[in-house]
């Protein structure tokens, strides 16, 4: 009689291997069935030497197998050793064709007809076994051997014509790697842009296309594959492109037929089969984990493999996520168990309504929980900060004027202005002085942005509250939600690209705009040219003149960087003003001050300087280095000081960068309101500190995404440390390098090129050393508002 295994594990990816190893360690009888002749085929097929990330960073690993961010080779090595060392019973070349029977007595048939019996089945086959392929019935020649669906090593090809089909991450990475190895590469994109890929890869491919490293056929699709070429259908008609090899990277899908036969049920429109909280699918005894259950990250897969084995043998472990959360929740008074706390949080916070408990749990891993005694501050006014706070318990107070205090209670949030506008905190928030303390959940910027992007409900709640708060902050704290509800409901958020006009001079227009993020300039036509008269940072409103005085637009308001604005209906706003004479007085006062200011700054020189500075993107800066060339003696002590304080690598290029009149803006970080560099950092190594400095922490992996994403060339990738010169050696012994001068750093395996950028000398007493080292006062670091006001006063 054949042996009946306790568990049969199908598929030996990270999830399957982790499950099998756990079973082996526990002495549970098991069998691991793998279709190919090696473990982990998906990772096996990664490009040779590929660096594999271990995201999410803060999720702890719970597995008997080793895993951390490293190369494909090392990771596969650990898993081979780990499974072998713990005595995993693996059968290679065993593609499963059928799973019959029921819980306690499954019969599993493999391709050669052999059968195995098991009480439970873990299905962890992933998706990559089922790659989307070109359809040979509609594309003749798709099966002639020219087309492959993976690329093992780009170095296998040299001086060849290669077509890469696809627009995802894999296609982009393959295409660029092949092109870098001196192949003539054409990438075929069915759409007119790359949007599906990670933004780092998008900039990678766009740069490659611009530099003519490779060619891109947009809106194109293959119609025929010949022995040495491919026919593409393009908007300009059919085109024959030479091809020694075609590599199609079209993604992967769940093998639906097989899953359904195994008992999985796909809900309407779902890409993955339904599983419950212990990963069991609709057929009892069959557990689906890993990518096939919708968890594409390796760490998730491995943890699930471990957990599910424990579940099956009736000894459930608490998941590592829960364990982590338990420690986090300790600070909450009266906390006892994670599940009920999660339920409580979900019920209390409207922002989290769209999340499942599993998602919320994982989301909370990123968050920090603070308990503050009455009167203690969660955040201080003017402190830099871009995280979002949600009140879990207690009340908070926000003093807005000497006698006006806002109060927020359970479930409400604050800090969204810092998050949306990228500017310093607009108010201090304290735990209510008359309460018994407050518990706040602090959600870091990336997690908060992810939440807004993934949950339409969260976005709506956030948008409405943000508009209300902005109106309260910038018009009058006296306004209530009831006063404004009609206005807010009719409000629309609008995006404007760099250089696009929110308001055009001379137009009929009745809308008022609040600039939520980015910044704009106000300009007037004088003769044939536009003269810039004012600068509008995020948080301010524009368009009030036409609205108040029923006239055409008196000036043009143009976005200097991408702007996110809220459009308020003019008629509604006017009726609000009619009802509230106090508010009317406030808006009138702002309008009057602006008009005065506008009359004053018709000065041509000032206007040109501000126009120049905004044209080079200073509008989105929070702290930029600006050199007065009339004072600069070109001694480069700023650069030397920078190098001296930063391991010999200067983060400032004094001579480079744009110049107008005596104003020179050298290449160095401007600490943008919404930093472009942060957008796509795999380990989330770019951070903003309370002082406002955007810096790189020591988790940087040197991928270069930030350097590519920075529009101002302010980030360099460089090795460390360079040999530094000393004063005495240089002065007395003719040393080659003086202080602040150094050998060019050489990269090596140990000394990798990492992201190097200005950190505003956050660890140095006294502030930026470039500014302090300047002997003549030519170097300053300022915010644009400060700079513009100084330029105006100086004129």
């Amino acid at each position: 009689m054949t042996e009946i295994y306790e568990i049969a594990i199908i598929g030996s990816g990270p999830a399957g291997c982790s499950a099998a190893t756990r079973a082996a360690k526990l002495g549970v009888s098991h069998i691991l069935l793998e279709r190919t002749d090696h473990l982990s085929d998906t990772i096996y097929k990664y490009q040779r030497g590929k660096y594999v990330m271990a995201t999410p960073d803060n999720l702890p690993l719970q597995s008997d197998l080793q895993f951390e961010a490293d190369t494909r080779e090392n990771i596969l090595g650990w898993w081979d050793e780990g499974t072998e060392g713990s005595g995993v019973n693996v059968k290679f070349n065993s593609e499963v064709t059928a799973i019959e029977g029921e819980k306690g007595d499954f019969t599993i048939t493999i391709a050669n007809g052999d059968t195995y019996k098991a009480k439970h089945v873990i299905l962890s086959i992933g998706l990559q076994g089922n790659l989307r392929q070109l359809d040979a019935s509609s594309i003749p020649g798709a099966d002639n051997g020219v087309t492959e669906y993976q690329l093992d090593d780009p170095k296998d090809y040299w001086d060849k014509d290669i077509i890469v089909i696809g627009a995802g991450d894999a296609a982009i990475e393959n295409a660029v790697a092949l092109a870098q190895n001196d192949n003539r590469v054409t990438i075929v994109n069915r759409k007119r842009e790359f949007s599906r890929a990670k933004s780092g890869n998008i900039s990678l491919i766009l740069t490659a296309i611009k530099d003519e490293l490779l060619e891109c056929a947009y809106n194109a699709s293959p119609v025929k594959v010949n022995e040495d070429s491919m026919v593409l259908k393009t908007p300009e008609g059919e085109r024959v492109v030479p091809a020694d090899r075609a590599i199609a990277r079209l993604g992967a899908i769940a093998p639906r037929g097989f899953i359904e036969a195994a008992g999985g049920v796909f809900e309407d429109g779902a890409d993955f089969p339904r599983v419950n909280e212990i990963y069991e699918c609709d057929r009892p005894g069959v557990f689906i984990i890993g990518a096939l259950a919708g968890y594409p990250l390796i760490k998730h897969c491995m943890n699930q493999g471990y957990e599910v084995v424990h579940t099956i043998i009736g000894d459930p472990v608490e998941s590592v996520v829960r364990k982590e959360l338990a420690t986090k929740f300790q600070v909450i008074p009266g906390f006892n168990d994670v599940q009920s706390m999660l339920e409580q949080i979900k019920a209390a916070v409207p922002l989290f309504q769209g999340l499942t408990l599993l998602q919320l749990g994982e989301f909370m891993l990123d968050a920090d929980i603070h308990f503050k005694k009455p009167g203690d501050a969660f955040m201080e006014k003017n402190e830099a900060g871009d995280s979002l706070f949600v009140i879990h318990e207690g009340d908070v107070e926000i003093p807005v004027t000497a006698d006006k205090v806002f109060r927020l209670g359970q479930g409400q949030f604050f800090g969204e202005m810092g998050l949306i506008m990228g500017r310093r905190r607009t108010a201090t928030v304290l735990a209510a002085r008359d309460g018994s303390g407050a518990v706040g959940i602090e959600i870091p910027r990336t997690a908060a942005l992810k939440l807004i992007a993934s949950s339409p409900q969260a976005k709506k709640v956030m948008d409405e509250t943000a508009i209300l708060r902005q109106l309260q902050t910038f018009l009058s704290p006296e306004l209530t939600r009831d006063d404004l509800s009609e206005l807010i409901e009719a409000a629309q958020t609008k995006q404007f690209g760099r250089g696009e006009a929110l308001i055009e001079e001379g137009d009929e227009g009745d809308a008022l705009y609040i600039v939520r993020s980015g910044s704009a300039t106000v300009s007037k036509k004088v003769g044939n040219s536009d003269v810039v008269i004012a600068y509008v940072p995020a948080g301010q409103f524009v368009g009030e003149m036409a609205l108040l005085f029923h006239q055409t637009r008196s000036a043009t308001v143009r976005a200097t960087v991408p702007v996110d604005a809220v459009e308020l209906d003019g008629a509604l706003f006017r009726s609000l003003l009619d009802e509230k004479p106090k508010l009317r007085a406030i808006v009138d006062k702002v309008a009057r001050e602006r008009e005065e200011e506008n009359q004053r700054t018709g000065n041509d020189v000032v206007s040109r300087k501000i126009e120049f500075l905004t044209s080079i993107g200073l509008g989105e800066a929070t702290n930029a280095i600006v050199i007065d060339e009339d004072l600069c003696v070109r001694c480069d002590y700023c650069e030397k000081a920078c190098a001296e304080t930063h391991d010999g690598v200067s983060r400032l290029d004094r001579a480079a960068g744009p110049t107008y009149a005596n104003i020179h803006v050298p290449l160095s970080c401007r600490h943008c309101e919404q930093p472009h560099c942060m957008a796509d950092c795999p380990p989330n190594a770019l951070q903003r500190d309370a002082g406002g400095a955007v810096y790189v922490d020591d988790t940087c992996i040197g991928c270069g995404n930030c350097a590519r994403n920075c529009p101002y060339d302010a980030i360099t990738m460089s090795a460390l440390p360079a040999k530094k010169g000393g004063l005495m050696g240089w002065l007395l012994f003719g040393g080659k390098f003086g202080p602040g001068e150094a050998e060019k750093p050489k990269k090596s395996k140990e000394n990798k090129e990492m992201s190097r950028k200005c950190d505003l000398c956050r660890d140095v007493d006294g502030g930026p050393s470039c500014v302090r080292a300047c002997p003549t006062g030519a170097v300053i670091r300022v915010s644009p508002e400060e700079l513009f006001s100084r330029i105006r006063e100086g004129a």
């Binding site: 050393s769 006062g777 030519a778």
Partner: protein, 279 residues
């Protein structure tokens, strides 16, 4: 107020005011105290002035070390430079009063002379720092020297390409421009920034005169382009030379200022030693 504050105006002329006060006090002390035997360095006021002067000189010299230290702290080098300039100038009064106007051919007067030379060279430095930065910007018109050098290289390629379409006589102009357009060079060449011997400037003249002999219209077009390219190159070269010469002027005074300071400190040592050992 402009966006920037120069070292001279640091903290609303703080060091100018302090130095002025210091001078005033020393003048009053010098005038008020009339010892028997006349005013000189050997009186109590004289010792006082000498001590102040000595400490000032040592402290002022320390700027050279301080500005290369790149250390943290609340100070700025701008503030140090400001103090350096104004206190340095105040030495002309303090040290002169210290001498009691007694000069001779001795080590004491040597120290005084060296000090005045140091101050004089420093004064030129201030003048250079005020005058040349703006001239440098004006000269390069918002471009960087490296961008202009790159443009020159591109022009060289274009000129070489144009010579292929023109008679051999034009090759001489191209070669002249390529071989004799020197930027920088020896001390005098660097400092003068003169473009009199510029190969490209001469090549422009040569190519223009050659161009007049051409009859073929395609060649005439190429020749015009060649003359334009050579003129642009000559223009860039002359701007780069001027750039270097301005920079050289801003640097050169330090080559006097620093060695003279070292000499001054040595002679001061001798002065103090002799005063206390022999008198």
């Amino acid at each position: 107020m402009s966006a920037h504050t120069s070292f001279l105006a640091h903290e609303r002329f703080r060091w100018f005011k302090r130095s002025a006060w210091l001078c005033l006090i020393t003048i009053v002390a010098y005038s008020a105290y009339a010892p028997v035997g006349g005013r000189n360095g050997g009186t109590w006021v004289g010792y006082g002035l000498g001590t102040i002067g000595l400490l000032l000189i040592l402290w002022l010299s320390w700027l050279g070390v301080k500005k290369r230290g790149f250390s943290g702290g609340s100070h700025t080098i701008r503030g140090w430079t400001s103090a350096h300039v104004y206190l340095g100038l105040s030495l002309t009064i303090i040290a002169t009063l210290h001498t009691g106007f007694e000069f001779g051919w001795n080590v004491h007067t040597l120290a005084y002379t060296l000090m005045m030379l140091v101050i004089l060279s420093g004064g030129f430095g201030v003048f250079a720092y005020l005058r040349y930065p703006a001239k440098m910007s004006e000269n390069l018109i918002g471009q960087s020297a490296s961008a202009l050098k790159k443009e020159m290289q591109d022009l060289d390629i274009r000129i070489a390409r144009l010579t292929q379409r023109l008679p051999d006589s034009f090759a001489e102009a191209a070669r002249m421009s390529l071989d004799q357009t020197k930027i920088g060079g020896g001390f005098m060449a660097l400092l003068s920034g003169s473009s009199k011997k510029c190969g490209s400037a001469k090549a422009v003249a040569l190519a223009s005169s050659q161009a007049e002999t051409l009859t073929d219209s395609a060649q005439q077009t190429s020749a015009t382009e060649m003359v334009a390219s050579l003129s642009r190159k000559a223009e860039i070269a002359s701007r780069l030379r001027r750039d270097l010469s301005y920079k050289a002027i801003m640097d050169i005074w330090l080559w006097l200022h620093v060695p003279l300071t070292l000499g001054l400190i040595a002679s001061l040592g001798a002065h103090v030693f002799i005063v206390f050992y022999y008198w």
